[in-house]
């Protein structure tokens, strides 16, 4: 049974552990040095291009995390996206051939309005927001990312799921010619994920089309990815081409691959360990510092009620 407690993060200042200023200062110094050299050698045009560092603008959610936001370079060069390779640097390296446009999303199953939706048309149907969320990977590291996108609940209104719909299944594109990682059966392609309908309708559930106010880079799941910040990162499926509303719990890729290690729910939970390591702490990147992992990744107030009465050790 889930016992609701005072959130532990009330007492932990987010900025206490991450030495981001140190990191930023170093980067700024390097950038300045680069501009100096490039400026002398190549003139003012090239120097201006070097200065263009992505900034986080106004956000509609997660303002308190602003000081902890990770660097754009880190977010876009350290990725788990097995479609482009299993190494963390592989997605940034191997996703150059991927074409995120034109893009359509096939919506089907228990909905009143099934069909193939053009992505740009889909995005226009709701106001785009910028939100800062924590991302907690099941591998016990975490980041803070400024996403751009639309709340999934806004699309629910458009698709009109029927009374029979209880789950939402998502599917990643299958393009082995553009995604070299799919040429090996590391996982059973295409990657599939799913949420309970009430989870999908939660205010936090987000469909991201960008980060740092820019379009999503291919390695981060272009052009459309899910973001469910209270669940481990692998639930946030990337490059979505199919959304199906179902009556029963849909299969999910990591659960199929290793059922004892990855469940359907995959809620961030410091008390339920991965069979191979503890989930009680996490490394906030970049660096080595550990911090305690928060129940539901710190979003308990928004989502804990979804799991009231459930044994979260059993439904991991």
């Amino acid at each position: 049974m889930y016992v609701r407690r005072k959130p532990a993060w009330d007492t932990i200042p987010e900025s206490e552990i991450t030495p981001r200023e140190v990191y930023l200062d170093r980067r700024r110094f390097l950038a300045a040095a680069g501009i100096g050299i490039a400026g002398a050698a190549l003139g003012p045009v090239r120097a201006a291009a070097l200065q263009e560092a992505p900034q986080v603008g106004e956000v509609t959610y997660g303002e308190a995390l602003r000081a902890d936001v990770n660097d754009y370079d880190l977010i876009t060069t350290y990725n788990n996206f097995y479609e482009f390779g299993t190494g963390k640097a592989d997605p940034a390296r191997n996703s150059g051939d991927f074409r995120p446009r034109p893009w359509t999303v096939e919506v089907g199953g228990e909905v009143a309005r099934p069909g193939r939706y053009d992505l740009d048309d889909l995005i226009r149907s709701a106001p785009v927001e910028d939100r800062i969320y924590r991302l907690r990977c099941v591998e016990a590291w975490s980041m803070v990312i400024p996403w751009r996108g639309i709340p999934f609940r806004n699309l629910l209104a458009r698709f009109e799921p029927t009374a029979e719909a209880r789950f939402v299944a998502f599917e990643t594109v299958y393009r082995p010619e553009e995604m070299p990682g799919q040429r090996r059966r590391v996982l059973d392609w295409p990657y599939v994920e799913g949420l309970r309908l009430d989870e999908a309708a939660n205010e936090l559930t987000f469909l991201a089309t960008g980060l740092y106010g820019r379009d999503l880079p291919n390695q981060n799941g272009a052009p459309l990815r899910l973001v469910v910040p209270w669940k481990y990162g692998f639930k946030s499926i990337k490059s979505i081409v199919k959304i199906t509303f179902t009556r029963s719990m849909p299969p999910t890729s990591w659960n199929l691959s290793a059922p004892h290690e990855y469940g359907f729910y995959a809620n961030v939970n410091p008390e339920v360990d991965h069979p191979r390591w503890s989930q009680a702490r996490e490394t906030r990147l970049p660096g080595l510092a550990k911090r305690p992992t928060l129940p539901f990744n710190g979003y308990g107030e928004q989502v804990a009620h979804l799991y009231r009465g459930m044994d979260l050790t059993r439904w991991y």
Binding site: L74, T77, Y78, Y82, T86, K88, A89, E139, W141, V186, L187, S257, A258, P275, R276, W277, S278, A280, R281, T283, L285, P286, G287, L288, K290
Partner: protein
């Protein structure tokens, strides 16, 4: 004789260069490069573990290679390779204890009692410890034939290390499969190819003068 001594010296130099390469490269990245990127812990713990496995396999390869090639000078590299494997294993364990767990003994205890992944890894390291300690000439002389028996612990240690490596993967088993294939090949040669001067295939049974006995024993030492 002079030629052989030079050759051994060259081979040992090559082992030093190759075995220290991952350590030097990582050190360079830390001090002069990108400080090991976004997740230094991942780089250090996976890098040291992989180096330990590769060098352990290299150590196990010495006798089979010698048997196939007849190049006995190779035997002189075995201790060096084994000690390098142990050095990386020690580094791996130290990174885990100090950086991953921050000496938090409650978590460490939980890992080595409840999780098979950590249990087999720890066991492999514990088995390597006495081998490293007794690798000196003094211990070889003191232990005599028991030295040979004791150092057969390298086989279960290698098996456990391979298991640890395999269980450490999320889905991509390429690395462990390659390691397993090489180990299987080495054992095949080790116990399948006849020893020079013997009739019939080498015995694989236990007890007596097993073919597992290395050429460098107490008797062949100066």
């Amino acid at each position: 004789m002079v030629l052989t001594r030079t050759r051994v010296r060259l081979l040992k130099g090559a082992v030093w260069a190759a075995a220290s390469w991952p350590l030097l490269q990582t050190g360079w990245r830390w001090f002069f490069g990108d400080r090991l990127g976004a997740n230094p812990l991942e780089v250090m713990i996976l890098g040291s573990g992989l180096s330990a496995v590769v060098l352990l396999i290299a150590t196990l390869a010495v006798t089979p290679l010698r048997r196939v090639t007849g190049w006995n000078a190779l035997q002189r590299l075995r201790r060096l390779l084994g000690l390098w494997a142990f050095a990386y294993a020690t580094l791996h364990v130290t990174v885990y204890l100090a950086l991953d767990q921050g000496w938090a003994w409650s978590y460490i205890l939980e890992d080595v009692t409840e999780r098979r992944f950590t249990i087999v890894g720890a066991l492999a390291f514990v088995l390597l410890l006495p081998l490293a300690v007794t690798s000196t000439r003094g211990w070889v002389r003191r232990l005599g034939r028991r030295w040979v028996l004791l150092h057969r612990l390298v086989y279960p240690a290698a098996g456990l290390a391979l298991l640890h490596y395999t269980w450490g993967q999320k889905a991509d088993l390429r690395g462990p499969l390659i390691a397993a294939a090489v180990m299987a090949l080495l054992f095949g040669v080790r116990f399948g190819v006849r020893r020079p001067g013997r009739r019939g295939p080498a015995r694989t049974g236990s007890g007596g003068a097993s073919p597992a006995a290395p050429v460098v024993g107490p008797r062949t030492l100066p």
